[in-house]
Amino acid sequence: MSKEIWWASESFWRKNAIWITAGSFLVLIFLTFDTVSQITAGGKRVPGYSVINHRITYEFDESRNMQVPVIGVEEPLFGQKLTEEEAQALVTRGKLTTQAKNCMNCHTLLGNGAYYAPDLTKSWLDQSWGSKDIREQEMVDFLMNPQDRLHNGLGRRMPNLNITEEEARATIAFLKWMSSIDTNGFPANFVSIDQEN
């Protein structure tokens, strides 16, 4: 070990560590600018909040070879058409509710969270709500009083989280909006509730 080999030397690797770290970080910063611009609400991948005024479906796209959300005919949530600002306020309230009620420590949202309860990414489109006509009311009722509604054979229930009707409606607005995000085909093979008239 008396004669040092250049590629095993301390200074060679110290320089490498600095340059590689700095280089990777710069690339990340560059990509972050692009990503943030693409996921800002109102863009192509993440629609503006007033998308809740429309029907949202999840359909197979041949060219991308994956399912993608499709924004369809006008179909306002709770029959009430909102402006972009009103919709944003409602979704904001809904998002705050999902955080304050700690939804993410049982459910996953966009696949992130805990695994004790189903993923909520496409919960707005789930067939379990029965039919399109009763879906909104079913969701409100469920969110406000979930503790007595056994919906599986495991005995697993959702606790009562003191969700008010206003919070429930806002949460549903958030869930409807979330179902419109382009998640690159996640979840795969999902079969939506029938939304045709």
């Binding site: 490498n16 560590a17 993440v46 420590n105 992130n112 606790p159 690159n184 996640f186 979840p187």
Partner: protein, 481 residues
């Protein structure tokens, strides 16, 4: 002169005394993590258990938060522990550091009490500021976030100022730069947005860049110090390895962030970038295994602290398998589409956090206990027997491997039945959850949890008693060129 074998804080320097305080709280929170993990696991088997009192969401939140915080306390404690040794001068601003410790500990106690007693709030900003932010791993309410940042800045000041005043070793330099990143990145998670894609994009900056980049580099520093302390490896060797690890770790880990950007609304180019760089993430972990095992062999396992060296070797392998192999198994988007958000993730999470971080902090607990007892002998044939630390190590590993494998089996079943066949809706989810293969996995996981808990109890007992009956001083380090 202190008596060998007797716990005496006069054996420690200022930084080490403060480090010991951090370690004490870390052990308590480790216990809380195990306890609430057991409760959450039981609720998979008995859903009515504590329903409406301590729901799964609460137990799970305390389980993962206790983990993040106790590991952080372990890292901070370990850094204070090595600070005076490495820099050659007393800690600068030690009083402030002590104050930071008490504020941080008080904040943690208040946060946990609020989690347990208040649990949730109404859907307003007030709840997020005072009760619970509701974002996995960083649930701590905003007031606590600010407190954490202030305390971490105090810690950073202590470390940076001490190295600046004394000597800047390679370990010191890497540690200081790493702490800049550690504190800075936390800020990325401290704001609210209704846009969940944006939310999760920045949330991953905190979670991934902490856990898969800055924390890994931090344990690299601890590994370097640990090998010098227990084996007497030459500084030049460990520091060269440390630079290699930093280059590979940040080179793969920073852009490896992309493997969390497959499904949250972020663009498709992350498939290629995230897939490629995260697939490289195991490489630095191989380097750590080679490094630790080679050094241990080179020194013919003649260590001054057998339990600490055993945990360091456990770290090298645990990090490689838990973080590296288990992460690689489902990091490519083609597979991750079906495994993302299933028990696969839980399997990887358990094994990785244990293998990469818990092991290293426990190694430092043993290094600390040795010095606290007057640099007592802790090599082979220790008086009072070595069975406790060996069995604690064995039980913790058996328990963890049992949990990891059980969760993996449940995860395979879930990916197959719920995701691939069922199409991920609610019916598919519950069909998979009710499947015997899934339920079996949950049962075995629980058994693994009990074994792990037994290992934890034994570990605490051992940490309190090891070296107590020993009267010999620590074996001298043997320098080998």
């Amino acid at each position: 002169m202190a008596v060998i074998g007797k716990l005496d804080s006069s054996n420690l320097n200022g930084g080490q005394k403060l480090g010991l305080k951090y370690f004490s709280v870390a052990v308590v929170l480790f216990g809380a993590q195990v306890l609430f993990g057991l409760l959450a696991g039981l609720q998979f088997l008995y859903p009515d258990l504590l329903f409406g009192v301590l729901d799964f969401s609460v137990n799970r939140m305390v389980h993962i938060n206790a983990m993040v915080v106790w590991l952080l306390f372990g890292f901070i404690g370990s850094s204070y522990w090595l600070l005076e040794d490495e820099s050659g001068v007393p800690v600068v601003g030690l009083k402030l550091g002590n104050l930071g410790f008490w504020i941080l500990t008080l904040a943690v106690v208040v946060v946990v009490l609020v989690y347990l007693l208040i649990q949730i709030g109404d859907g307003t900003h007030t709840s997020i500021w005072l009760i619970n932010e509701g974002r996995e791993y960083i649930e701590a309410p905003r007031w606590a976030d600010i407190g954490i940042v202030v305390c971490v800045l105090v810690f950073f000041y202590n470390v940076a100022a001490t190295f600046t005043k004394g000597r800047f070793t390679g370990v010191g330099g890497v540690l200081v730069l790493d702490l800049v990143a550690l504190a800075g990145i936390y800020l990325a998670g401290m704001w609210f947005t209704p846009n969940i894609s944006m939310d999760q994009h920045w949330w991953w900056w905190v979670i991934h860049l902490w856990v898969e980049a800055t924390w890994e580099v931090l344990v690299g520093c601890l590994m370097a110090y640990g090998l010098m302390k227990t084996l007497g490896v030459r500084r030049k060797i460990v520091e060269t390895w440390l630079y290699i690890e930093v280059a590979l770790m940040f080179g793969s880990g920073i852009l490896g962030l992309g493997h969390h950007y497959f499904w949250i609304g972020t663009p498709e180019y992350w498939f290629a970038i995230g897939g490629f760089f995260s697939a490289l993430e195991p490489v630095p972990l191989v380097a750590m295994v080679v490094h630790a095992v080679f050094d241990a062999g080179h020194h013919k396992l003649k260590s001054t602290n057998h339990p600490a060296l055993a945990w360091i070797i456990a770290q090298a392998f645990g990090n490689f398998f838990g973080a590296g192999v288990w992460g690689f198994m489902h990091t490519l988007p083609q597979i991750n589409l079906y495994t993302h958000g299933t028990q696969w993730t839980a399997s990887h999470g358990h094994f990785a956090f244990f293998g990469a971080y818990v092991t290293m902090v426990i190694a430092f607990f043993y290094i600390a206990v040795q010095k606290w007892r007057g640099n007592v002998y802790m090599s082979g044939n220790i008086a009072g027997g070595a069975w406790k630390w060996k069995w604690a190590l064995a039980l913790l590993h058996i328990g963890m491997l049992a949990m990891t494998m059980a969760l993996l089996i449940s995860g395979y079943e879930q990916s197959h039945i719920e995701r691939a066949i069922g199409g991920s809706d609610w019916v598919a989810y519950f069909t998979a959850q009710a499947h015997p293969w899934f339920v079996q996995g949950m049962k075995w996981r629980q058994i693994g949890g009990w074994i792990f808990a037994a290992g934890f109890v034994l570990l605490v007992w051992d940490l309190l008693t090891i070296g107590k009956r020993e009267t010999r001083p620590a074996q001298a380090l043997v320098q080998i060129d």
